[in-house]
């Protein structure tokens, strides 16, 4: 078998930097950032107001900022779980087909680079852009927490908030790759955007209903089996994987994410917090599922792009 000549990553930095530069001035990106900051800011403010009265009583004040809501404003976590997939899709839905539409693909690929570098560079650019946005948001939350509550976060809270940041980034990357994959399949960016959004809505709204129906249908009348099946089927949805992971990270008293029998709870001190390591063990399967889905989506996108006819 012939080995590749030169580095497989030749030109990666050039594409990566260009993509980052594009995102920095992109109106789409600016609108999304404003939307995230506004909505997250509102929920943070409400949460901070609620938490002020509990200062000193709760050792996980910072983490509560992410999860506490007050009608009519949902929690920061709810906003993020809604807006992050949108951000991912918004960055990915025209990643490749825009190059076809602008007729730039032939020009770029005739430069001394391998074809797959374009895909790597675009994904890397998007990940970096999303990582920067989420990091800014993460720092903003921690800063606000200290400002509003006047209590510095503990090391464990920082570690948990960071784990939440990593999981959120993976969730965003997953939806970016969905958008990018559709941008390879469909030549029209409107179609790829629509299909990606439809898939996101399907997993967020319809899949929980469908998984329940399927669990009832195939649960065999046993309520425990039905509940277990519903959990398994429900976790096919990245939305559920994400919300469960976030819950386990941000709420240290979460002891299980699946179905638990009363007999299994014997001896447990209800309401006590799990150590950080134990919470991470709880979400490890979710984390692995995220990574596996991301790798799978990228592999599909890679194969589709490599087989794609580059002429217009």
């Amino acid at each position: 078998m012939n080995k590749r000549e030169g580095s497989a990553l030749t030109g990666l930095k050039v594409i990566w930097l260009k993509e980052m530069q594009d995102y920095a001035g992109n109106i789409r990106m600016i609108i999304l950032m404003l939307l995230i900051i506004l909505t997250a800011g509102a929920s943070m403010y409400v949460a901070a107001q609620t938490l002020r009265s509990f200062v000193g009583e709760d050792s996980f004040m910072l983490l509560n900022l992410f999860t506490i809501s007050q009608d009519p404003i949902p929690s920061f976590l709810s906003f993020i779980s809604f807006l992050v997939p949108l951000t991912g899709i918004a960055l990915g839905f025209d990643a490749i087909n825009s190059e076809f539409q602008n007729r730039t693909l032939g020009r770029v690929l005739s430069q001394p680079i391998y074809r797959d570098v374009l895909l790597f560079g675009k994904a890397l650019g998007a990940v970096s852009a999303m990582a920067i946005i989420l990091l800014a948001l993460w720092l903003l939350v921690i800063g606000c927490a200290m400002l509003f509550l006047g209590v510095p976060p503990s090391g464990e809270q920082i570690a948990r908030a960071f784990a939440f940041y990593v999981v959120t980034l993976l969730y965003a990357l997953l939806w970016y790759l969905v958008g990018m994959m559709f941008s390879i399949i469909f030549r029209q960016s409107a179609v790829s955007a629509l299909v990606a959004i439809a898939l996101w809505l399907f997993f967020m709204i319809f899949w929980p209903m469908i998984s329940q129906l399927l669990a009832y249908a195939f649960g065999g009348g046993d309520s425990f089996q039905t509940a277990k099946l519903e959990v398994v089927l429900g976790r096919i949805s990245p939305y559920r994987l994400y919300t469960e992971s976030a819950l386990a990270i941000l709420n240290p008293s979460t002891r299980s994410l699946g179905v638990v029998l009363f007999s299994q709870l014997q001896g447990a001190i209800m309401g006590s917090a799990l150590p950080f390591g134990q919470s991470m063990l709880l979400i490890w399967p979710h984390f692995t599922a995220f990574l596996a889905t991301i790798i799978l989506l990228f592999a599909i996108a890679y194969v589709l792009f490599q087989r794609k006819e580059i002429r217009m």
Binding site: N102, S110, P112, R115
Partner: protein
């Protein structure tokens, strides 16, 4: 034109999964400093051939060698020395011309100074200096074509492949563009491969042409050689003379004249077995007429293509 073969194609074929043969048993070679025209109607396999030359598409059969390398196995070496301007050229419209060229120049691994020097020089050659910091979305189609050629020059390639370079250009811009290509060949010693469906436009600059039909090369050589191959040695002489109503009979009587076609009151197209212009001139003067024009006309590439296509279809 040098003698070194810089590009050779041997029995190249490309068959798509649906069984469509886009390119069928294609063989030709290019010498250094040559301008070669790959000509044929749309859908005849020209772009597919070009993509295989660049290593952007794998052939089903046959071999391609560009500057001694297989473009599919060692694409980076080939792409570093071959410039390509696609038929549907596009730029990032929100970026300036300079930024667009700088982006692709970065792939060449040049340092910032060298990039700037090359980009400015290329843009100047294409007479776009005063617009180089304008966004490409403000450029006309012709300017984008010139920018495409500027981008190609930044690479300083040994071979330039231009796919339908005159497409969408007005006649004046086509003349300008083709003269640019000729001057680049003369000044930089570049080898050009032009693909076009506008046969007569590019024939003026091509040293040799390959006529394409349904993925096959149906004729190959210089335009003169192809004319001779398909029309024999007969020549067309365009003659215009004033002073007598009808010269047709007189012209027909001359030795070597095969036929005379009257084009207008004083305008005749003479088909002869050889170049008999001196004899015709003498006869026109003897008849007391004023000779206003006498020139040899070549068979147009379009005529040659039509005949070659007919002959290929009959085989």
């Amino acid at each position: 034109m040098g003698n070194e073969i810089v590009l050779s194609v041997s029995h190249l074929s490309k068959q798509y999964r649906k069984g469509v043969k886009a390119v069928d048993d294609l063989s030709f070679s290019l010498k250094e400093g040559e301008i070669f025209g790959l000509l044929g109607p749309n859908g005849s396999g020209k772009t597919t051939t070009i993509l295989m030359l660049l290593g952007l598409l794998e052939s089903t059969e046959g071999t391609v060698e560009v500057l001694g390398h297989n473009p599919f196995r060692t694409p980076l070496v080939v792409k570093r020395q071959v410039g390509y301007m696609p038929d549907a050229i596009g730029f990032y419209e929100y970026m300036t011309a300079y930024e667009n060229l700088d982006y692709t120049a970065r792939f060449l691994g040049l340092d910032a100074n060298e990039r700037e020097k090359r980009i400015k020089a290329s843009i100047a050659k294409m007479r776009l200096t005063d617009r180089m910091h304008d966004k490409v979305k403000t450029y006309s189609h012709g300017m984008k074509r010139r920018l495409g050629l500027a981008e190609l020059l930044v690479k300083e390639p040994r071979i330039a492949i231009l796919d339908e370079p005159t497409q969408g250009l007005d006649p004046q811009s086509i003349r300008e563009f083709l003269s640019l290509i000729t001057s680049l060949r003369d000044s930089e010693g570049m080898t050009f491969l032009l693909s076009s469906h506008q046969l007569d436009e590019v024939q003026s600059v091509c040293d040799r042409v390959g006529l394409f039909s349904r993925g096959k090369l149906i004729s190959f050589g210089s335009v003169d050689a192809l004319g001779e191959e398909h029309f024999g040695k007969e020549v067309l002489i365009d003659l215009q003379a004033e002073g007598k109503d009808d010269l047709e009979l007189l012209l027909k009587k001359q030795k070597g004249v095969i036929g005379v076609d009257r084009q207008g009151d004083n305008h005749y197209l003479v088909t002869a077995s050889e170049d008999i212009r001196p004899i015709l001139a003498q006869q026109v003067f003897s008849a007391g007429c004023n000779l206003t024009s006498l020139e040899m006309k070549k068979h147009s590439l379009n005529e040659i293509y039509q005949l070659a296509y007919k002959e290929a279809s009959n085989e």
